[in-house]
């Protein structure tokens, strides 16, 4: 079953054509990596998939609903209910503890539940660091808090922007382990990355060049439905 469909998507900023004629379908439970050089349109594509931007033309269908023409208020609601965002820069609120950073996502979704937030941290191996401020956590730990925050509302789609871009090898391994676990549990993952090793973990790698899909590679370590 298709969770996400991008149909002939283009995005133009003034004279700059950031995306052009993108067509892509992502199935439920699929792990897709998006790669490409700087300026290829990865971030623009992620913003459109993450309901943080609208395409200039084309349509985006998420969970069977066309969302590409929704207003920003509705897009916020869709993002809140269906998408979990993981950022390269972590974007944790510096004056809130790890636990509170996870609870912020609960607060704007439904209702904060400290126990549930704690179990989300436990899932990423950070239960013992729940009361620490971001400044007291390592980069890898901060990224795991960010992942816990993305998972807390049980999103349909987890969208990660360079999730290992700021991490050392050890922490990269930890984060990828979490992604593998999520994938095994049936989560749909879209990971934007520069790192071929991270992309190889995905079932498919979409390679963007100059705002277009240059090719889609099926990674060989798994059977991938065409």
């Amino acid at each position: 079953m298709n969770l996400l469909e991008l149909k002939d998507i283009s995005k133009i900023y003034g004279n700059l054509k950031a995306l052009s004629g993108i067509n892509l379908t992502i199935s439920q439970g699929e792990w897709v990596a998006i790669m490409g050089p700087s300026g290829s349109g990865k971030t623009t594509m992620m913003n459109i998939i993450g309901c943080m931007d609208r395409p200039t033309t084309g349509s985006v269908i998420l969970d069977g609903a066309v969302i590409s023409r929704e207003n920003s208020r509705n897009l916020t609601t869709i993002r809140r209910d269906k998408i979990g965002l993981i950022f390269q820069q972590f974007h944790l609120i510096h004056y809130l503890t790890a636990l509170e950073n996870v609870m912020v996502a609960q607060y704007y979704h439904s209702m904060p539940d400290e126990k549930e937030a704690l179990s989300a941290l436990e899932r990423v191996g950070l239960a013992g660091r729940a009361k620490h401020l971001p400044s007291q956590l390592s980069g890898g730990e901060q990224q795991r808090v960010c992942i816990a925050r993305a998972l807390i509302n049980y999103p349909m789609l987890i969208l990660a922007d360079e999730p290992t871009g700021n991490l050392d090898e050890t922490n990269e391994g930890i984060v990828l382990d979490i992604f593998r676990q999520l994938h095994r549990e049936g989560s749909t993952l879209v990971v934007v990355t520069h790192d071929p090793e991270v992309a190889e973990e995905a079932q498919r790698t979409v390679i963007l060049e100059h705002g277009r899909v240059a090719r889609i590679a099926r990674n060989i370590h798994e059977e991938v439905p065409v």
């Binding site: 609601t77 974007h91 004056y95 912020v104 996502a105 704007y108 925050r149």
Partner: protein, 458 residues
């Protein structure tokens, strides 16, 4: 969670919040000080202006103000009407009794001035005081510092020494004590307790100086007075001699009578209602009449004095009353402008600080939006933080403002400023409005913030 985030902002961004609170405190302290002074300045300015004399003249019915303006004395066919001295205490029983600061009765008469060594006949001769010819002078009986037992059981000290305190005296104010003699004209008896103050023009012409003894003679009596002082009033009064009222009554043969009373009262500036009432109080509606009667307009006070002093017609001394009103209105306007400017300055300061704060937190606010926060909850979060800061700053500013008001009161008026409870809700509303107004640019920025722009730079 909401309050955790608010608390987090306060504890972990206290520098910025303190700066905002300080700005609000500065504005609210100025507003508090200025509003308290503004509400109290009426009384204070009135008190200050009272030191420059009376603002109400009470005359007997039928007497003309021209008498006093042109120096035409009683008994000359112009005015033979008088007020009863015993009625004067009633002035302090009117509705606005508390606003009657001082009053002094006067009894004017024409007399001849001579020296005690010359008899009554001698004065009419060619030798006068210190070798000068005896001369016609205007003599005025008055209270200098009179202790008055009021019908209400209270006591009051009033008189010229309070109402004419800007006069320059070479000596002291005369005493109001009882006369030494009976005023029969026996030249040797009325020098001890009877003292007088002589106008500088008279003193110059008659070569009288402080400490001399003078004789004042009318057709029916003569009295000797020790010159307690020579005064310079800078006006027509310099041509007069002031003696205690009982002595003047004896000399004039008008015991218990006065020809006019000067009243110094704290008044409210005139407005359209008071002007209409002054022309015709009976033309007012019942509600208008009550409002006018229960407001300390100079016309209302005049009306109330006329009610209690039999046969009296009270007239405001227009120049004084109008000047008081104008000065008061201008002073209040000045205070109001300072209040508005200080609050506008605060609003600008708050606007800059809050907008800078929100811009610094753009990534955080963008993240909240990315996590699913709509504009309203994010705006409420920021507004709550600012309003709490505003309330804290406002409270600090209020108490600091009370201190500023007292400093202004003691520095400018030499007395404390009365704290007006009305200022509390006013300052609260003003602080809230200023804080909200100052937050508008930051809220507009916040609403326009798109998460993709701040999180991904696009």
């Amino acid at each position: 969670m909401f309050w955790r985030m608010v608390r987090g902002t306060f504890f972990r961004q206290k520098g910025k919040m303190l700066m905002i609170a300080f700005t609000i405190a500065l504005g609210s302290s100025l507003a508090t000080a200025m509003l308290n002074v503004m509400f109290d300045v009426g009384d204070k300015v009135n008190q200050e202006l009272k030191t420059y004399g009376a603002n109400i003249n009470v005359l007997p019915q039928g007497a003309s103000l021209l008498d006093s303006l042109y120096g035409m004395a009683e008994g000359e066919g112009v005015s033979d009407k008088y007020l009863l001295e015993e009625d004067l205490g009633k002035i302090k029983t009117i509705f606005w009794a508390f606003n009657i600061v001082d009053f002094t009765p006067y009894l004017s008469l024409n007399a001849r001035l001579g020296s005690p060594s010359e008899g009554v006949n001698g004065i009419n001769g060619t030798t006068g005081i210190n070798g000068m010819n005896s001369m016609e002078v205007k003599v005025c009986g008055a209270w200098f510092s009179h202790h008055l037992e009021l019908p209400t059981g209270e006591a009051l000290d009033t008189g010229m020494s309070r109402m004419k305190n800007w006069w320059e005296l070479s000596g002291v104010w005369p005493a109001d004590g009882p006369m030494d003699g009976d005023g029969s004209g026996d030249t040797g008896r009325n020098t001890g307790g009877n003292s007088a103050m002589v106008g500088s023009a008279v003193a110059r012409r008659a070569s009288v100086s402080t400490g001399d003894t003078i004789r004042v003679e009318t057709s029916g009596a003569a009295m000797d007075f020790r010159v307690a002082s020579v005064f310079n009033a800078g006006g027509a009064e310099d041509e007069q001699i002031y003696i205690p009222l009982p002595a003047a009554q004896t000399l004039a043969g008008k015991p218990g009578l006065v020809s006019r009373v000067e009243v110094s009262a704290l008044t409210t500036p005139d407005n359209e209602l008071s002007r209409r009432a002054a022309q015709d109080p009976k033309g007012l509606s019942q509600a208008e009449w009550e409002t006018w009667y229960c407001t300390a307009y100079v016309s209302a006070i005049c009306y109330q004095i006329d009610e209690v002093v039999s046969g009296a017609v009270s007239k405001p001394i227009r120049q004084v009353a109008a000047s008081e009103g104008a000065i008061l209105e201008k002073t209040q306007l000045l205070m109001l402008l300072i209040t508005i400017l200080s609050l506008a300055g605060s609003a600008l300061g708050i606007s800059n600080l809050v907008t800078a704060g929100v811009m610094e937190r753009a990534a955080e606010i963008g993240l909240l939006k990315a996590l699913g926060a709509h504009n309203l909850p994010v705006s409420l979060l920021v507004l709550t933080e600012i309003l709490i800061t505003g309330v804290l700053g406002g409270c600090i500013g209020y108490f600091a403002g009370l201190g500023f008001a007292q400093i202004i009161g003691h520095t400018v008026f030499g007395s404390a400023i009365t704290i007006k409870p009305l200022v509390i809700p006013l300052v609260t509303v003003l602080v809230l409005l200023v804080t909200l107004a100052g937050s508008i640019p930051s809220i507009r920025f916040l609403l326009s913030l798109r998460p993709a722009e701040v999180l991904h730079g696009r």
